[in-house]
Amino acid sequence: MADLTTKIDRLQLKNPVMLASGTCGFAEEINDFYDVSQLGGIFLKGTTPRNRDGNLYPRMAETPSGMLNAVGLQNKGIDYFIENIYPRIKNYDTPLIVNVNGSTVEEYIEVTEKVNELDKIPAIELNISCPNVKEGGMAFGVTCPGAEAVTREVRKAYGKTLIVKLSPNVTDVSEIAKAVEGQGADSVSLVNTFVGMAIDSETRKPLLSTVTGGLSGPAIKPVALRMVWQVSSAVKIPVIGMGGIMNTADAVEFLLAGATAIQVGTAVFKDPFIPLQIIEGLKSYLERHNMHSMSEIVGGLQL
C-alpha cells in the first residue's frame, strides 16, 4: 500500500499535494466541489493587516500556456479573516496555512502575531514575493538583506512552522533560500509568479491595468523546476515546489527535483479536481515503480 504521508517541519501531511495561495480562496470555494480534507494542505489567500481593494480591472490576461494576473492582494484584512472566515473553515481536517503579507516588516509581524493566536493554523507562509503590490511584497524577496530582515523578525514573533515563499525574479534564488534558512525559516516554497506583460497589438495598450503582472501556468514550469532543483540542492530545510503543475507527471518532476511537497495553483482555475487526480496519480506512480513511501521519490533525480 502506497504511503503518501509527508512531513514539512512539524506539519504532518496526509499527502504532498497542497493548494497554492491565491488560487483556492479560503478553502470554502474548493469545498463547494469536494471535501478538502482529502488534500495535503491549503495555503489560504494572501492576507494583510488591513483591507486592500487590490488593483483595477483588468487584472488578468490569457497567455500561451498560462496567464498573467495583477490582483494585488485583494483581501479584507487579518481581523476580518479571524472574525468571519476562520470560524467557518477551522474544522477542515487538513493543515490550513495563512499566507502573510505586509508593506513593512512591522506589518508582517502584525499579521503573524494575530495568526499565532489561532489554534487551527499550524503554519504561515511568509509572502516576500508578490509582484503586484507597490510596497513590500517582492521588494523584500529580491535581495538577501531584505529577505533576511523580514524572516528574522517574523521568526522572533512566531514559534510554529514558518515557510517563506520565494520569488523567481532574482539572479540566484538559492542565495535567497540560504539567507532565509539562516534566519530560521523551517521551509521554503517556490516559485511565486514571474513578472511579465502582454500588449494588445491593435489598440497598443497593455492588457493589464498595472501594465505588468505575474505569469503562472505550464509556461513557467521548466524554469520553476530548475529553481526548485537548485534550491533543494542548496538548503537543508524542506522545499515545497510549485509552478505550472497540471498533472501527476508534473508533480513527480518537482518531487524528483527535490521538493518534499508540491502546490497546485493555476491548474485549479482550469479544473479544481486536478489536485485530487494528482493524489491518486501519485499512489499509482508509487505502486507502478514498486515504491512504498514518498521518501523514495523526493530528490530521486537520476543523474
Partner: protein, 260 residues
Amino acid sequence: MGKKLVSDFLVLNNIPLNSTNYLIKLQAPGTLPPIFPGQFVNIDIKSASEIFLRRPFSVFEVDNTENTLSVIVKILGRGSKKLTEITPGEKLSLIYPLGKHFTFPGKSEKILAVGGGSGLAPMLFLAKESKLPAGNIDIVIGARSASDHVELESYKKYGKIHLTTEDGSLGTKGFVTDHPLLKNDIERYDKVYACGPVGMMKAVAGLAKNAGVFCEVSLENLMACGFGVCLCCIEPTVKGNLCVCTEGPVFNINELKWQI
C-alpha cells in the same frame, strides 16, 4: 460541499444561428441540478491546447427531464471561435452551475428584457422561466443589422419580441435604447433586465434609473476560474470590489458604481 460540479458533457448538436452565433446543446452525464436564468457555465475547450483558460457562457435553455442545457456562443475571439467548431459526439468539460440568477418577477408584474448580441440568451431564458403571461413580457433585442439577428419564432409564446437594428434593416432603427418601449415607456414596467455589451447595459440602466424602475444587468468581466478564487473578474460596487462570477454576474444597477 458538492454544490458545484465539473463534468464532461456530450455535445448533442451545434447549430449556426447566423454568421457569428451558434447554438450548442449539451447533455449532462447524470442528473442536471436546477439552473436559473442568469447563471452560467465555464467551458473547457480541450481540443484547443492554445486556449488555456475556460470560457464562461450564460445558460440559454435547460431541460431537467432530458438533462440537457444549451448555450449561445458568439464568436468574439480565439476561444469562442474554437468552440463553434465542435461537432456532435464530442465532449466538453463544464464547471456548473455558476453565479447568481436574476430576481424573478412577482406575480402579475410587467417586465422588460433587453438583450444585445449573445446577451439575448439569458433574456429569453428569463422570459420562459418567469411564469408570467406572455402579455406581461416585452423583449427588445438589438443587433447591428438584420443578418445579425437570430430566429426567435419559438419564443413568441413567452413574450412580445421587438427588434432593433443600427442600420434600420429590420425593426426599429437605432440602438435598443432608441426603441419607444425604452425611450418613452420604461416607467410602465415593474422590472427591467439587460444583458449585452457594457455600453448598451449602461444606456438601459440610465433610462431605468431615471424612471426609478428596478433594473438588473448581467456582467461578463474577464475571469480565470468562474468560482471565486482568482479574484480577476472584479467589479467596483458599493460593497467594494466584488467577483462577478460569485457575487454576480447579475447585479442590481444600484449596487454598481456606473456613471449613469
